[in-house]
Symmetry: C2
Subunit: 376 residues, 2 copies
């Protein structure tokens, strides 16, 4: 938690649940990433947190933007981004969304299928397009299955087709999975793209961009590799795969940019036991999986907690949200322990919650309104 | 799909994604439930769908209401419900919410812990309270873990305490799990409550209400027991447990009341394959898990689909939502098959989606706005 957030929580005591984001920390993270990968152009993954103060600050720093929808493209434009700095990175788009973005000046689009390519040829003629391929996600705490990307053989055919359709077959992208904690995932993926580049050039395709996606990890409960180390591994693999003829590099950080800039402030609604001598207490907060903490599904992302009683004696807990839904349980199997003194009405903080929280919040599940947001 | 919904979709062609609910069907379901369990007072579980047209219609029919939050209590009051017809059924409540509901005239509250009982004694003095106990959930497609309820021994102590604190220790509740497809779950739970009633009366507690919760199933892809059959089993178990001295009976249907009254209309955004000869197509809709279909988590609730090509040749599919999140995948392992002719732009309907959809929708994940709602 940054000093600025800490002071804000102490002095303002905002109503809970709420997220407080230190926008200066976002700028610092941008700088750290730029230093770790100076050759890469940063396309901020807007979906991680699309708040205007964040987008506006990043526009000022010269960032580009990875948008998942026409609505996110519009948010970037409203924040002052040039259309040329926006990539429409979702491989699944309504043709009306492609058309709207193209008419607004966006010229870079992702795809992973023939049907999407046809939409792009019709509604974004001449645009730069990049094909997403499937790569391994081992080591990612929030892995990506096969939903996005296609196999390399198909990517090769589609890139050739893109050219024939009058599109600019610009690049190849992949994603190693979000909160990726193993640098080897990048090495394997880059090597795969290197081979594909050779094949594509042989086939006469002027491919010249590699999009390394996002996934750069944030520290939650356990240590993760430093971004400098990840940058070194990536550049090593790039040189290995491409030698001196390095293609343009694009990265799409989301979590890394905003995760540790945010702190969620919540209130303990109830502490109880299911039977008298049960060692495990149930701690119910006023925010849960449907209030924004969607990434605790399967206990995937394990946030760290601060309480007013830290340092006192602790005991095992199950931590749950406030709704009448049993799946609205955050942690039951991850060995969380909280102070025995914790009681109804206490405020607890969930650290590093700046990414993938606000927009996930359900509009009104059980009648609860979404969390408040403070950008400072 | 009712004729009224079918006509509305055909004639109005509302923009997708949207939910269309036939409010007459809700009234019919109320009548069916009343016929199946004439001795039970129906408390509609507002969280299933809190839309004003539904609440208003149920007020007119004489229904009572089970509210999960102060916001839901307010929604019932706005729809014309008497405060005496509202039960505040969440066992996890901020004391400020208890106080607000009490001041608005609500006099019936759930609890399952000593800490909650203390809040009720302070902020809802003299109110009727009922203790939720843990029971088995085998057979439920959306089971409830141990998040709500306490063990019977503790319930007994808490009910005695409630009396001592000046509350009216009114009843005992349980929940067999949502979309419960086995009637035996009710029999076991009612027998458990019967024994507890005997113990409580011996201890001098004037307990006189049994709240059987909800969980009454809706037909999705497979057959479920008829409500008449469930009613017969419940009444048999009640007579077995209580003889002639039947306590007041409360039921809290949510899904049963509104589920089959609603149809979700969606558009196919993309149909693709991950490699050329892959037999499995990926079908991406413009609504997914974060757009409201939260109950497809773990492929728990399996909705039935209608497409414009039904009757044509089918093939295996994975069905996913439109967001850049791999967990936004509805069905990958449940052997869904859809017509081979299905294409981008086709409209597909998801049947029996009137419950637990609208309020779950994320406020803006990936920039997408929540689905539209039409009550006809």
């Amino acid at each position: 938690m940054t000093d600025k957030v800490s002071r804000f929580l102490r002095d303002v005591m905002p109503a809970t649940p709420c997220l407080v984001v230190d926008v200066d920390r976002v700028a610092e993270n941008y700088g750290r990433l730029k230093a770790a990968l100076p050759l890469a152009q940063i396309y901020y993954a807007v979906k991680a947190n699309p708040a205007e103060p964040i987008l506006g600050r990043l526009v000022g720093l010269g960032s580009s933007f990875d948008a998942a929808s026409w609505e996110e493209v519009q948010a970037c434009l409203r924040a002052g981004a040039e259309p040329s700095a926006i990539s429409f990175g979702n491989t699944v788009k309504k043709e009306s969304a492609i058309k709207a973005a193209y008419e607004a000046g966006v010229r870079m689009f992702a795809f992973d299928s023939e049907a999407e390519l046809k939409k792009l040829a019709r509604s974004a003629p001449g645009a730069k397009v990049y094909c997403r391929i499937l790569v391994g996600n081992v080591g990612a705490e929030w892995p990506l299955s096969k939903k996005f990307g296609c196999e390399v053989e198909m990517a090769k055919e589609l890139m050739v087709q893109a050219n024939e359709m009058g599109l600019d077959a610009f690049g190849i992208s992949f994603h190693v999975g979000s909160q990726q904690t193993r640098t080897a995932a990048y090495e394997a993926a880059i090597a795969k793209v290197g081979l594909l580049f050779t094949d594509l050039k042989t086939a006469g395709v002027n491919v010249r961009m590699i999009n390394l996606g996002g996934g750069y990890p944030v520290r939650y409960r356990t240590e993760v590799p430093e971004i400098g180390e990840i940058g070194d591994v990536i550049m090593g693999a790039m040189v290995e795969a491409f030698g001196n003829a390095l293609p343009e590099m694009v990265i799409e950080p989301g979590r890394f940019m905003v995760g540790d800039a945010g702190v969620l402030s919540s209130e303990v609604v109830l502490v109880s036991r299911k039977e008298k001598d049960d060692p495990v207490r149930w701690v119910y907060l006023d925010i849960g999986r449907f209030g924004g903490l969607a990434e605790t599904e399967g206990e995937a992302i394990k946030y760290a907690f601060r309480t007013p009683h830290d340092g006192g004696e602790e005991g095992p807990v199950t931590i749950a949200g406030p709704t009448c839904d049993s799946t609205d349980t955050l942690y039951e199997k991850s060995n969380y322990r909280l102070p025995l003194a914790l009681d109804c009405g206490d405020r607890v903080e969930l650290l590093a919650t700046g990414a993938y929280v606000t927009t996930y919040a359900s509009q009104a599940f059980n009648g609860f309104t979404p969390l408040a947001e403070h950008y400072i």
